[in-house]
Structures are given as structure tokens and as C-alpha cells.
């Protein structure tokens, strides 16, 4: 059974139909990419699935259960995590603490126990600190562990978002343009990182403009244009589809 199923999903902002009748399914353990020209509705699609927006119409199912309109913090509980195209890093915290926030749901969040610093809570926090360091190393940010997030360069923050999402131990991870604004060397590193994540068994749904990266790592690709599904298939199928070429380069007519 597919891990994630999207059926006839639509949302309209006033008169603008940002996503129209989009359907697709993501099998567990694969890298699924969503591509399309700017303004095609890729990020909106992510916002719909991760609960940031409520769909006007359509159905979203995770493990066969409907999740359309569920609040983001409840989706996190079901194993969903994401990163953001425009960075959403907590600049008022250290890099390591940002990663630790990712593990929020695995921790004892009791207020009284926290104030009185119950030993079990303190021990778990120390343990988490080590785990978070491990994740920072995994994404290649060991050098930034003790820094404030506000003193990190852009490329590092992109990876910090991934580390934070991984701290949640998700089953399905949505990456919204992880390589946007990065140079080719950094993009190659992100490429490698996404593959490492996928190999660890996490289902990855990726929005990305870097075609080399997308064609390289995707098991399946969904192409959106003007909010509608243009086509869906393997990298090979998508590359050879004349509609896709037309959408990106303009039709020859």
C-alpha cells in the first residue's frame, strides 16, 4: 500500500486556483520528486500535505487514513517532517538547540518537571544533546554545533533544517528546495545527503529546481504546471514527455 495518497487535491486563494485536482501516490522507501516551473504550485502542494494550508477539496491519506485539514503538530506525531524553502530556522537559539527542537515529541514536555529539573528529564536531555550532535555530523555541520543559528551561513542553515527534520525520526520527509540558492559544490553535497537519508529508510518527497539532482536521485517524478498535474513517471519517462519540454521551454507552435 502506498504510504501517502493524494486524491483530487485542490486549493483556491480567492480566484487563484493554486493547486487543481492533483492526484498521486508515494510508495514507502522511495525518493519522490515534484518539479515544475516557478509558480506551478509545488510549495503550495507541500503546505497542503503538511497541514499548513487546509485544502478546498480533495483527500490526503497517510497509511490509508485521511489527514486533510489536520494541524501540523498532529501530523508530526504521525511521522511527518519537512523543511522550508524560505528558511524557518529559530535564530534566537543555537544550532544544536534547533536540532533538539526536532525531537520535541520524543521528550517529556511537562512544565513542572522541567522547572524542578527532574533527573530523568535532565538525563534524557543530555542524551538528546549527543544525538543532536550526531545528526549535525550526519549532515556535515559538526563545526557549527556550539554556534548560534544567527551566525551560520546560508548553505549551512539549509542543512540545519534537514538535521532538525531528521531529529523527529520521520517516516516521510518533505524537502522543499533543499538546494535552492546553493552553488554547484554545495548542491552536490545536498544531493549526496538526500541519498543518504533515503538509504536510511526514510521516504523522501522532494521539491527541487536542480534538474541534474532530481533526475539523479528520484525514483518517481511528478510534474506540475499552473497547479495541475502534467505527468508523472520515472525520470526517463518524464524527460521524454513532450508536454514537460513544452512547459519548461515553451511550445514550438
Amino acid at each position: 500500500m502506498a504510504l501517502l495518497e493524494v486524491e483530487n487535491l485542490s486549493i483556491a486563494f480567492g480566484g487563484v486556483k493554486a493547486v487543481q485536482n492533483v492526484s498521486f501516490a508515494v510508495d514507502p522507501g522511495i525518493v519522490y520528486s515534484v518539479i515544475g516551473p516557478n509558480g506551478a504550485g509545488k510549495t503550495t502542494l507541500f503546505n497542503l500535505i503538511t497541514g499548513v494550508y487546509t485544502p478546498s477539496e480533495g483527500e490526503i491519506r497517510l497509511d490509508g487514513q485521511s489527514i486533510a485539514g489536520t494541524a501540523p503538530h498532529e501530523l508530526a506525531l504521525r511521522g511527518m517532517a519537512r523543511t522550508f524553502q524560505n528558511l524557518q530556522i529559530c535564530m534566537n537559539m543555537s544550532a544544536l538547540e534547533n536540532v533538539m527542537v526536532g525531537a520535541h515529541l520524543q521528550l517529556d514536555r511537562n512544565l513542572i518537571k522541567a522547572m524542578l529539573r527532574f533527573p530523568a528529564l535532565a538525563r534524557r536531555d543530555d542524551q538528546l544533546r549527543d544525538e543532536a550532535r550526531g545528526l549535525m555530523r550526519f549532515v556535515g555541520l559538526d563545526a557549527y554545533c556550539n554556534l548560534g543559528a544567527n551566525s551560520m551561513p546560508y548553505g549551512a542553515l539549509k542543512r540545519l533544517e534537514i538535521a532538525r527534520a531528521l531529529a523527529a525520526k520521520p517516516r516521510i520527509l518533505f524537502l522543499d528546495e533543499p538546494a535552492a540558492g546553493l552553488n554547484s559544490k554545495e548542491t552536490a553535497e545536498i544531493d549526496e545527503l538526500v541519498q543518504k537519508v533515503a538509504e536510511s529508510g526514510i521516504t523522501v518527497v522532494l521539491v527541487e529546481h536542480d534538474m541534474k539532482m532530481v533526475m539523479n536521485i528520484s525514483d518517481r517524478i511528478l510534474v506540475l504546471d499552473y497547479g495541475k498535474k502534467l505527468t508523472e513517471g520515472t525520470a526517463q519517462e518524464v524527460r521524454e514527455n513532450p508536454d514537460v519540454i513544452a512547459a519548461y521551454l515553451g511550445s514550438t507552435v
Partner: protein, 314 residues
């Protein structure tokens, strides 16, 4: 070693509080120290809300007022034990905070400021108008705080009570900030959408910290009432709310040490400026303006950054 370095700030504060009586020449100075401690404890709670969670409250004196009047009214009119009255006051303040918090925290920025301002003003008006119980604008006397056969009496005894309470609040605030709860609180300040996606129920956290700060404000209202032995509606009024927010801002938002410094400075300043006879408000205002222009993030974060290390407090 790790234990010692972790508790170093707490030990330093304990040391200061222990040694302070050696240099306090008379009861007048004890009185100022006690007021500083009372303000510091309220400001620690308020800073969790304003500085760390990034939510504003312009009505916190209302909660101080609830505690103060609970300690005045319940023992006087109904014969309650002062400790029970204090607890009841804090409970009422918490319940009111809980009831208004959910609708209030749907608001942001200016609207949130207005809503909390309104809440504080309503509490102040109720206290002023219910003269049968509260004595109206003239205020009322508060019985002494006795525990068992022992009654807390005089500045010196109150000093030690407040030193203990301040140490506890300082320790608890530091613990809270460095816990899963505290991180969630700071995270929702940093990015609401990111913290939601990570599983933080942001409304729940905003409500919880609002209740907690109201609870401590109310307790300190009760302590103030018992210490002074008299309450007037001024304790709940708008100016007191602003004074508390000013302590947070001048000391430093999202800084535990800033809360202490802000409370100490702004409690001492009016006393130090009393020689200006009639012009003290002008000088006081000028100092605040100067602080905000040159240190907009507050004293402690600005100075901490200038003299090495991170401005962030942890």
C-alpha cells in the same frame, strides 16, 4: 566539575544574597532589597512570556492585584488562613489567565497588547469599585503572614523569605529555559510554522506560559500585600504593568540575568533620583530613552555581546 559549572550562577546569586545584609546599613535599604526581589520574581515570569515566548502582556499588574487582594480580603472578611488565601489568589489568577488566554492568543502583535491591556484595566476597575470588600481607592489593611505559631515580621525576616523565593525562581526559570518545554517556547518565538511542523502545539505553550507568569505575579502580589501590610488599587493599575514590562525590556528580553538586573535597576533608580526633587520622572524617562536608543536589546544581552561571548542567555 560539571555539577559545579552548571550551578555556578545559582551559587553566585546565593552568595550575593547571603552577603548583602553585611552591607545593608538599615531597614530602609532592606526595604529596597525586598522590593527588588519581589519585582525580580515577577519579571522572571514575565520575561518567560515576553522575552522567551515572544508574547506581550500589558496587564500583568492585574494578576499582582488579584494575589494582593486575595490575601487582604479572604483572611479579613472570611477568616481564611493567609497561606490558603495566597494559594486561592494564585489559583484564581491562573484560572482567569487560562480562560482569557485561548481567545487572546489567537491575536498577535498590537492586538495582543490591546487585549492584555484591557484585561489588566478590567481587574483594576473591579478592585477600585467593589469597595465593600476592597475598601475602594483607599485600600485596605492586610493581616500578617503567620505560619504555625511563627509570624513573619520586620524587614530582616522578610529579606530572608524573599532571598529564598528569588533563588528558587531563578533556578526554576533557568531549568525551564533549558528543557524540552523551554526549547519549544523559544522555538515558537523563532518560527511558529517550523515549531508546529516539529510537533509543538503553539497555542498550548503560549497559554501555559501565560498562566505560569500570572501564577507567579499573583503569589508576589500576596507577598507584597503581607509585607507592606496594606494594599491600594495602585498595585493592579496600568502604570504598574508598564513598570514591569519596562524592567523586562531594559534588563534584556530573553535573558534570565536581564530580568534580575532590570528589576534591581528600575527599583533602585527612583530612590537614587529622589535628590532631583520633582524632576526625577524626567531624569528617569531620559535614562530609559537613552537605554532603548543605545541598547535596544536590553542591558544584559548588549553588554554580554560587547564583552565577549554570545548575547544569548541559556
Amino acid at each position: 566539575m560539571k555539577m559545579i559549572s552548571r550551578h555556578k550562577p545559582l551559587l553566585i546569586l546565593a552568595g550575593v544574597l547571603l552577603l548583602l545584609p553585611l552591607v545593608l546599613p538599615n531597614n530602609f535599604y532592606y526595604d529596597i532589597a525586598i522590593r527588588m526581589a519581589i519585582n525580580a520574581i515577577i519579571v522572571l515570569g514575565l520575561n518567560l512570556l515576553i522575552g522567551f515566548a515572544g508574547q506581550i502582556s500589558l496587564g500583568h499588574a492585574g494578576f499582582v492585584g488579584i494575589g494582593a487582594y486575595a490575601s487582604a480580603i479572604l483572611p479579613t472578611h472570611f477568616g481564611w488562613h493567609p497561606l490558603l488565601a495566597m494559594t486561592a489568589g494564585a489559583a484564581v489568577a491562573s484560572v482567569i489567565a487560562a480562560i482569557v488566554a485561548r481567545p487572546i492568543f489567537r491575536l498577535k502583535g498590537h492586538y495582543l497588547a490591546m487585549a492584555t491591556l484591557g484585561l489588566g484595566i478590567i481587574i483594576a476597575i473591579v478592585i477600585k469599585n467593589e469597595a465593600t470588600y476592597t475598601g475602594g481607592p483607599d485600600g485596605m489593611a492586610v493581616p500578617a503572614l503567620g505560619i504555625g505559631g511563627f509570624t513573619i515580621n520586620g524587614e530582616k525576616q522578610w529579606y530572608w523569605v524573599l532571598a529564598g523565593l528569588l533563588l528558587f525562581s531563578f533556578w526554576a526559570s533557568k531549568n525551564l529555559i533549558d528543557s524540552p518545554f523551554g526549547r519549544a517556547l523559544r522555538a515558537l518565538h523563532g518560527s511558529e510554522v517550523a515549531s508546529q511542523v516539529m510537533g509543538v502545539d503553539i497555542v498550548r505553550y503560549k497559554v501555559a506560559i501565560f498562566i505560569l507568569s500570572a501564577f507567579f505575579a499573583s503569589l508576589m502580589g500576596s507577598v507584597t500585600a503581607h509585607y507592606i501590610g496594606f494594599v491600594t488599587p495602585n498595585i493592579a493599575d496600568f502604570f504598574h504593568s508598564i513598570e514591569l514590562v519596562t524592567m523586562v525590556v531594559v534588563g534584556g528580553m530573553a535573558s534570565i540575568y536581564g530580568s534580575l538586573i532590570g528589576a534591581v535597576l528600575l527599583t533602585a533608580l527612583p530612590q537614587a533620583l529622589s535628590t532631583f526633587e520633582g524632576w526625577e520622572t524626567v531624569v528617569f524617562g531620559s535614562i530609559l530613552i537613552f537605554c532603548m536608543i543605545f541598547m535596544p536589546r536590553g542591558l544584559v544581552p548588549t553588554l554580554a555581546e560587547r564583552f565577549g561571548g554570545r548575547g544569548e542567555d541559556k
